[in-house]
Structures are given as C-alpha cells and as structure tokens.
C-alpha cells in the first residue's frame, strides 16, 4: 500500500476538526442543491432535511425550526461514495503470509483510527469503506465495513449492522505467496490446488462443528443423569475452523479475489455445493465473460474501470468490460484498492459513461447503491431518501464532470470535510507558522532588523 506525502498543514487542520464538527442532534438543512438521489432521479434546486444523523425529507423549500443551514448554491450532492475494496486504516501488514488458511485473523483487531488515509478519502467524497485482508491466502481473514467518522475510536468507525466478510483469493497471489518458513514451500503450487485447499478446509470445519454438537449432546445427557454420567470434556476450541464454520453458516459474506472466468465459475459451483454466501468477486477482470452466471447466482463484482495488464492473469479485459457487465445486469461496484485512487473514484465512474456507454445514473450506482448491496448495507446507505443515513458528498459540478471538485463530505449528518473551511484554516496555519519563524529569527538589538 502506498503512503503519500502528507502536508503538515492538512493534518493541523484535520486535528482541529476533531474538536469542532456540527452537533448531530440539531436539524440540518442542505438548501438549493442538485440532488442525485439514485433511487428517485435528480432533483434540481432541492433541499435535504437531516435529523439525528438520518435523512428526514428530500424535496423543495424544506424548513425546520432551529435548523443549521448549509446553502449549496447550485452545487451537486450525491450519496456518500462507498469503496467496496480497500485496505486503509489497517495497522501492520494487510496479509498474514505465515499460513495457507488464516480465517482466524480479523481486520477489526488492527484498525488504526488515526490513519490519515481516512481523512484523505473524505476529501474525495468517500463516506464508507470495506477494509480487508490481502490476497495471499485461499481463505484469509475477516474484513469489516467502516464509516469514515474521522477522529472517532476504532470501535466507533465500525459500520453497525454490516455483515462481516471473509476474504478469499484465487490464482497467482495465493499460489505465489510461497515464502515457506524454514525452507518449506507452502501448499498449493497450482491454481487447482487453491480450490482444493478451500474444499479441504470446509470438510475439516464440518467435522469440527460435529464434534461440538456431539459434546453438547453428551453434556445434556450428563446433566439429565444427575452425576451418574460423567461430564464430558469440551473439544479444543479452534478459532481458524470457527472462522470457516462462520463461512459455511452464511454469517460471513465471501469476497473472492479472482481474475479468470474459469476459476470464478468453479468457485460459484463450490459455494453453491456448500451453501456459502458468495457476495462478490474482487477485480474480476474477466467477469464480463460470465455475466449470465454472475446474475443467475446473485454474485457482484468489485472492480476497476481501466486498470489491467499488471500481471498475466489480468490481461484479458477491456475498458468496456465494467460497463458491459453492468448493462447485462451484474451488480458492479467500482473500487479503489488504493488510498490515492480512493479520492477520485468519481472520475473512474465517469469513464464508464465515456468509454462504456453507461447512463450517468448507472455510473453513479457503481459508487453508491451497488457497493451497498454487495456489502449488505443497502437499507442504511447508498441513496438519498428518507430514513437512510445522512451520508452525503457535495461537489462543485456534476460528480461525473471531469472538472468537478468535492467540496464537502457528511457522515451521519456530521460535516467531516469542508473544503472552504479547510483552505481558510490552512491559510491561518501558514500565517501562524510564518509569524513563529519571524519571532525566532535573530534580530539586531538596536535596530530590530533581521541579521
């Protein structure tokens, strides 16, 4: 993951914002904006009324007593962007390389709420991210959905009610993560071995669950026998297999890193056989080849619009692939996989219109309601309509306009990024710094001139 140059001033400002922000309980009205609701078309010159972090009403000429008002003056507002594949705010490595299956690992344990990338994502209108384990393992760790409540604790960043995910990976990455401790190569060395590893783990997890069920039965019998039947010893707990059991029970939604259509088809079959909830293929650059199968099985793709050929398994795609799959009814989400791309996802969505011929409405969906559906959070976010969380991104022009700039980002009705205020504070900080430097500069005692 790249770390980008961070200006000191941006941080100075960002820390100041932690202390301010608008009170969430006071009603908030966004006035006179062009509202891309996603669910009900675009309302030109419309208002959004927000209370207690939720959207209450969307329409024209809204008012509420004592409301804080933000005049949008003809700017554009869309639902906060949802990045369905990222690795920000993760402390330490995003891959647990040390073993083949690492379903015991949980990204929630290593969230760093002070990762500056959270703030920079906000500057690009992003309000929700799915942050996840890397792609070194056939079955890797649990991922989590975060709301970008910058300045809050790790626990407070977690998107309540969002299903947890299980990251899987097929093809080259798990194959080549063969560092092998103590000179041993790690299984598997082939693409087919990756799927076999997943199947094998499923069978072990089923055995594990059965052992616990047998134990519960014996325990019941022992209690009924009132001491005549000795109490059984519980089986040894195994967090790795419990993670896999959570996949088999459907508690965890599978997010499977894959490029090749053949592999995706075989994983669809495997998940069907075991009743596993396969939510989405990650990257899925050949997804446009198997749209019927994806649609029939309700599997989405989380992908790039024009990023490919960075390795051999990522060759067979084209800039129209994303739009093609979307037009065939596949649930398509555009993701960043990178903190820098995260800040300009709206540019990526515009490319699906320019190069793939998607409608503007369809393009906006790839950043909002589509990733929301893939993540199981479409009841809370993804559109601008009453009852939903007030997660909003305000742009100077239409978000798909190449010259648009994100002006303001709101999460749960709280302004977490305000470009105008940011620039003002930056100027103040610069002046302050200048003054400080001047005060420190050595002066001639008599004349006061700098020496």
């Amino acid at each position: 993951m790249k770390r980008h140059m961070i200006t000191e001033i941006a941080l100075f400002w960002a820390m100041g914002l932690l202390l301010t922000g608008f009170a969430a309980d006071k009603p908030l009205i966004l006035k006179n904006g062009n509202i891309i609701t996603v669910s009900g078309g675009t309302i030109e010159g419309g208002d959004i009324l927000v209370q207690a972090g939720k959207i209450v009403r969307v329409g024209k000429d809204l008012g509420a007593p004592g409301a804080e008002t933000i005049n949008l003056k003809g700017q554009w507002v869309m639902p906060g962007i949802i990045d369905s594949h990222s690795h920000i705010a993760v402390e330490g490595d995003v891959n647990e390389m040390g073993d083949l299956i690492t379903s015991e690992v949980d990204v929630r344990d290593v969230i760093n709420p002070r990762d500056m990338m959270i703030f920079y994502a906000l500057t690009g209108g992003v309000t929700t991210v799915h942050t996840m384990h890397g792609s070194a393992n056939p079955i890797a760790g649990r991922g989590v959905v975060l709301k970008l409540r910058w300045g809050k604790s790790a626990d407070e960043l977690i998107f309540q009610g969002a299903p947890l995910t299980s990251k899987w990976a097929l093809g080259e990455n798990p194959k080549q993560s063969n560092l092998g401790g103590a000179g041993k190569a790690r299984y598997p060395k082939s693409r087919m071995g990756v799927e076999a590893a997943i199947r094998k783990e499923f069978e072990q997890a089923k055995d594990y669950v059965r052992h616990w069920q047998e134990y519960e039965k014996k325990l019941k019998a022992s209690r009924a026998g009132k001491g005549k039947v000795p109490a059984p010893l519980p089986p040894k707990r195994d967090y790795r297999l419990e993670g896999v059991a959570d996949i088999l029970s459907g508690k965890l939604w599978v997010r499977c890193h894959a490029y090749q259509s053949e592999e995706m088809l075989s994983i669809i079959r495997l998940c069907k056989e075991y009743g596993v909830k396969l939510a989405c293929f990650e990257h899925a650059l050949e997804g446009y080849r198997i749209t019927n199968e994806l649609v029939a099985n309700g599997v989405g793709i989380s992908t790039f619009v024009d990023f490919w050929a960075y390795k051999w398994e990522a060759y067979n795609t084209m800039p129209h692939g994303t739009a093609l799959a979307a037009r065939r009814g596949v649930l398509v989400a555009l993701n960043s996989d990178d903190p820098e791309r995260m800040r300009r996802l709206f540019n990526d969505a515009a490319k699906t219109v320019r190069f793939g011929g998607l409608s503007e409405a369809e393009a906006i969906k790839t950043l909002t309601i589509n990733p929301a559906k893939i993540l199981g959070i479409d009841k809370q976010v993804g559109t601008i309509e009453p009852g939903k969380d007030a997660d909003l991104a305000v742009f100077s022009r239409h978000p798909l306009d190449p010259y648009t700039v994100c002006q303001m980002t709101i999460v749960d009705g709280t302004v977490y990024f305000d470009r105008a205020k940011y620039l003002e504070d930056r100027k103040k900080a610069e002046e302050e710094k200048k003054k400080e430097a001047e005060a420190k500069a050595p002066k001639d005692k008599k004349t006061g001139a700098e020496v």
């Binding site: 390389m97 040390g98 290593v110 760093n112 002070r114 990762d115 790790a154 103590a182």
Partner: protein, 387 residues
Amino acid sequence: MPDRGILTGQSSFFCLSDPDKNKSLLLRDLSLGIGFSPPGIMAYPSSLMGLYAYLKQILQDSVFYDAGRDRWNKDMRGIARPDYNPVLEVLSEHVAGKKPVIFLCRNQNDIRRALALVAGSRLDAVICDLGNEASDVIPELKKAKARVLVTVAFKAPPSNLYSQKGKAEREKAEKEVYPKNPARLAEAGIPFAFSSLDTDDPKTFTEGVLKAIEAGLSKEKALAALTTAPASFFGLDKALGTIEPGKIANIVLAEDDLLVKDAKVRYIFADGKKFEMKEAKAKEGEKPTVSVSGKWELTAEGVPKLTVDFVQEETALSGKMVTPFGVFDFMGGSVSGNQVDFEMTISVGGQEIDLYISGTVEGDTMRGTIVQDTSGSVEFTAKRIPG
C-alpha cells in the same frame, strides 16, 4: 525481561549487588512478556492481525490444556493422558492469574488490544507503555484497573498523527506532548512505575525521568514510580521500595536532591554492599599495532562466506560487510593493540540481528568470535584479501 518475539519469555528480579547471579537473584520466572511485533515474514504469524489471532488462540489453548491436565491428575483412569507441553505449562500459570503478564505495547492501539485480551480473562496484566501513549487511554486503563510501566524515551509511534505529519511535527510532539504522558497518568490516578526498557543506558533513562518532571510530574510521584510502585506491582513491597527496618538495604545516597540535572550520587548500597560513584575516566585504548584497512574474507562454521571492508583511522574502525542478505555498514568500532572490536546490525528476511565481533590480528590473519545476541557465538577466521 526478554522483550523480543510474541511470548517473549519470563522475567527475573535481581539486586545489582553481586556478579554471581545465584547470589543476586531476588525472584525468578516471575512475569511473562507478551509482545506485538511479528518476528518476520517467514513464519506464522507474520502480521499484527495474525499475531493477535495467534494470541487469542494460544490463551484459549492454555485454558484447555490446564483443564485437561487437572482432570487427568484428579483421576487417571479411563481417559487419555494429555501430552506435556512446556510452553502451555508455563503460560497456563499466567493465564490462571497466578503470575503477572507484561504486555509490551508500542502504541495506544496495542494497549487497547491488550486490554481487550485481559477483559473476561483472569490475566494479571501490567501494561508496558513503549509508545508513551497510555495517557490517551486513561478511561480504558481505569476500567481495567491496569498498572502501567512507563518508558521515557518519548518517541512518537509511527501510527499516530504526529508521525504521519512529517519530521518537524513529530519532533515537536516528542518535545512537547509525549513527555507529559507520566504527569497525565499521575493526574488521572493510574498506578505507574518507570521502565528503562526503551532507553539505551542509565544516563538516558535518568534524563527521561527528569524530562517527565519538567513536563509537570511531581518529584514525589516520580520517586514513587522508581521505588514503591514497581515494588508493589510485582509483590515485592515487603522487601523493597522504602527505607525501613527489615527491608533489603538498597539505598541511593546523593548530595542534595537526587531528581535534578547533574545530581551528585555519592554511594549506592545494594543488598547492603557499598558502591562508590566516581567520575568515569575516559578509557584510553592502547595505540594500534596493526592496520586492518582493506578487504578481509571471513569464514566461520555454519555462516555463509562474508567479506568485510575495514576503514581504520588510528583507533576508530568502520566499514561494511558483504553478506548474501545484502551489504551492511558499521561504525563506532575500535582497534586497540592488535585487538579489533565492532558491532553491527544486519537484516535477514525482515528480522534485525545484532552482531558483536571481536578478533585478534596476526599478520594477514584475524581470529575471534561473532556473538549473536539471540543464538550464541561462533568462532571465525578472516584472511586479508591482497590488493
């Protein structure tokens, strides 16, 4: 205490009174260290998140192991004998709360992770605050009734905003924010003791304590954090921490105030033995009788062939070592008579290894020892490469 790895090992208490450790030992195998730094990418766990999952699992394993052995000890008939596991044997005592554990926390996130492991367990936990951020976690520490070992190097951890802001902001915070950590803990009533764990020598440790006082910590609290608090943390308050009849005679005698810059410590008594403090004389090395500048080929059993390129300027020695893992520089070495001494750090597979090398030169041959702090020493022979 050992401080590398995940389950780092057990600690012991010594009185600094006698070089014979059997005489100076106070308590052995007391607390167990638990660290949050993955040892490398070649083994499980290679990541912080993997490390945390591993900890959860092994703490659980230890409970299971304990229950299994208890059951078998009670009645050996009819059930399979559980395997003996030396690691879980030790760990289970700590997991049962009979002995303390010390979490080596590099930042406030580590402290929260440690407290999450402690909650709902019987762990008797001490938090070692290597990142100087315990004062950002005060409500959580209070709730857990945690004891804290505070370090005084005052380096901002890379996870925090100050470090992400760049060098200037980080250094400013290290000067103005981090030294306030002990004072803020004292103000909140969190029990804490000072630890020298991340300072290089006693001098920097003392300077760090003084910095904490400058930043608002009272001298009384500072003194307590050096005496009564650590004694009580580890159940040694009957023997240590105060000057009173019956206790071990460990006493520092200073002219005037002890907790000031350039304090004049005259005597230290350890186990009643008097040690006089004198100004250390600068060590005068012998004049070098050899010149080692140039390349040497170094061979040792079980070590790949190494080339060392020395640069000697009178008694000062620096240079570089070419290894299969890369080229590593060293400096600060010395040549005295025909003795060569230098130390260096090499990195193998992401893991840093410290080497201490000393040898004797005779003509174009050097013989000596390479000591590696974790795995012992090895004899080497080096030959000068002509040209």
